[in-house]
Amino acid sequence: MAPRLRAVKERTHSAERDVVSPPDPLTPATAASVRGLNRKFGDRIVLDGLDLDIAHGEFIALIGRSGSGKSTLLRALAGLDQEVTGQLSAAGPVSVAFQEPRLVPWKRVLANVALGLRVADPQASARTALDEVGLTERASAWPGTLSGGEAQRASLARALVRHPRLLLLDEPFSALDALTRITMHQLVLSLWTQHQPAVLLVTHDVDEALALADRVLVLGGGRITHSSSISLPRPRDRDHPNLVALRLRLLTELGVPAGRTD
């Protein structure tokens, strides 16, 4: 076991709050590393000795049936779950975009993005981040007046403005309409290309995973049961033979009978 791994119980969150990211000689070799992670809810075992490594800059999609523990794993990596046991380390800063955008309703969009930002000029950084997600003109809007897609873009800006080395995306596109979702996929890919964070995207949408990820993981029985790397360049043709084959494979892994792809 690598010495950088610490017991979860002893973990401080200081790494995640470290906004400046200097060339650090102690930078871990991975963006995140998880060993033997366990989590029970009552008698139900959700994570059962899960192991996972996420390389720097790697885009991982994590799929699994509902209740398989996808979000539990993500919350553990985000430091939001104090009950997990096992070893877990993540290279800070870590950012999260949730399924619901979770913008603070009483702060205007710009203030939401700048919230908790510890840089010399938070407003300017936030403005740049809003530019990147194409939301400049809504900077002074109240979150409640945003459309679903705009709110998710604001949420992405708030995550990216911290220059995360690990970006956790918890089904952020699942509530969006199909067209908006496609736009958001393109946006996420372009932001990822530009900033190169490692990404862990939790999704239940196999096509979304195939379109975006370097590596698709299937979570089942509390562990990673399957891992496929995809080396096709993006944007990807949905009907590429490799993807068609992989889609069937993943659906089988998820327990969906072969032949059903909806």
């Binding site: 969150h13 870590v94 309703p105 009483w106």
Partner: protein
């Protein structure tokens, strides 16, 4: 964006300060008050009070309503004028009494609201604080405050202290209960956001918890204003030597009901103004809610 945006107390520079009085009776919605049609119709609101006062005056003038029971509007207005311009040995001047009463009310309300908020923060943020403070506060709250008056006189005499304390206690409990509920009602998902954004404890309080509790706290403030007003009216009439309550007790002795009416009308105006101020504050502070329809 300036600091004010972060406390949730910011609004755009809309023409919001126009005609705040128009919203006081019945609380005409902010956006609605600005539309010309609505503004025109708000003129209708004057009709019924004017008619009632007119009928009242007619009844007094014709002798249907004897002056010994209820003074006429004209004589009340005259009494008010006289009380302002003359310093009578019985009543003093109206403005002097008003000032004394306002001072009692303002001090009591301010201290009560502040203490209520502080207690709510203590109990709302800490389970230990809740376990220690909440039972005693709930017990105190269930004591009818009016029943405390005799004890207050025994403890604090008949000076300013029991009156202000009485106003303070009436303001404290609604503020405490509503702010506490507001703090506990803040969406835990926003707490998680604060956590992943690395907010420190005081930042969490300032950016997430307190603004989140603000709508409930303002409801508490509205109740505090009303209850403290009632406490003022009652408390002031006990062994008062100054203030509107003193005017009322004096007038009672001299069977001068027009003075009583003047004092009551002034209480009513004070209550309306305070309520309007709270509503204005609400509109300013909760602008984020108004913009997408509450």
């Amino acid at each position: 964006m300036p600091e004010t945006a972060e406390t949730g107390l910011n609004v755009g520079e809309q023409a919001e300060l126009t005609a705040p009085v128009a919203m006081i009776p019945g609380g005409v919605g902010a956006a609605a008050a600005r539309s010309p049609a609505r503004r025109q119709r708000s003129w209708y609101r004057v009709v019924s009070p004017v008619v009632v006062v007119g009928l009242w005056q007619a009844a007094s003038s014709t002798g249907i309503l004897p002056a010994s029971k209820l003074a006429s509007p004209a004589s009340i207005a005259h009494t008010a004028y006289t009380l302002v311009v003359t310093n009578s040995p019985t009543y003093g001047t109206l403005q002097e009494s008003l000032l004394v009463s306002c001072e009692r009310w303002a001090v009591g309300l301010a201290v009560g609201v502040t203490v209520g908020v502080l207690l709510a923060v203590l109990t709302g943020l800490s389970r230990v604080g809740e376990a220690i403070l909440d039972p005693i506060l709930q017990a105190l709250r269930s004591i009818p405050l009016l029943g405390l008056i005799p004890l207050f006189i025994v403890w604090f005499g008949i000076g300013e202290l029991p009156k202000v304390l009485f106003v303070m206690l009436s303001a404290l409990f609604p503020m405490y209960i509503n702010t506490f509920a507001g703090i506990r009602g803040v969406d835990s998902k926003l707490g998680e956001v604060g956590h992943v954004l690395g907010l420190r404890r005081h930042e969490m309080l300032r950016h997430i918890v307190l603004p989140g509790a603000l709508p409930a706290a303002l409801t508490g403030l509205q109740l505090s204003v009303v209850f403290s007003m009632i406490a003022l009216v009652v408390g002031e009439q006990i062994n008062a030597t100054s203030g509107l309550g003193f005017m009322i007790t004096q007038a009672q002795q001299f069977l001068d009901n027009s003075v009583i009416m003047v004092a009551l009308i002034i209480y009513a105006i004070l209550g309306l103004l305070a309520n309007g101020a709270v509503r204005l504050l609400e509109r300013k502070a909760l602008a984020w809610r108004r913009d997408f329809g509450q």
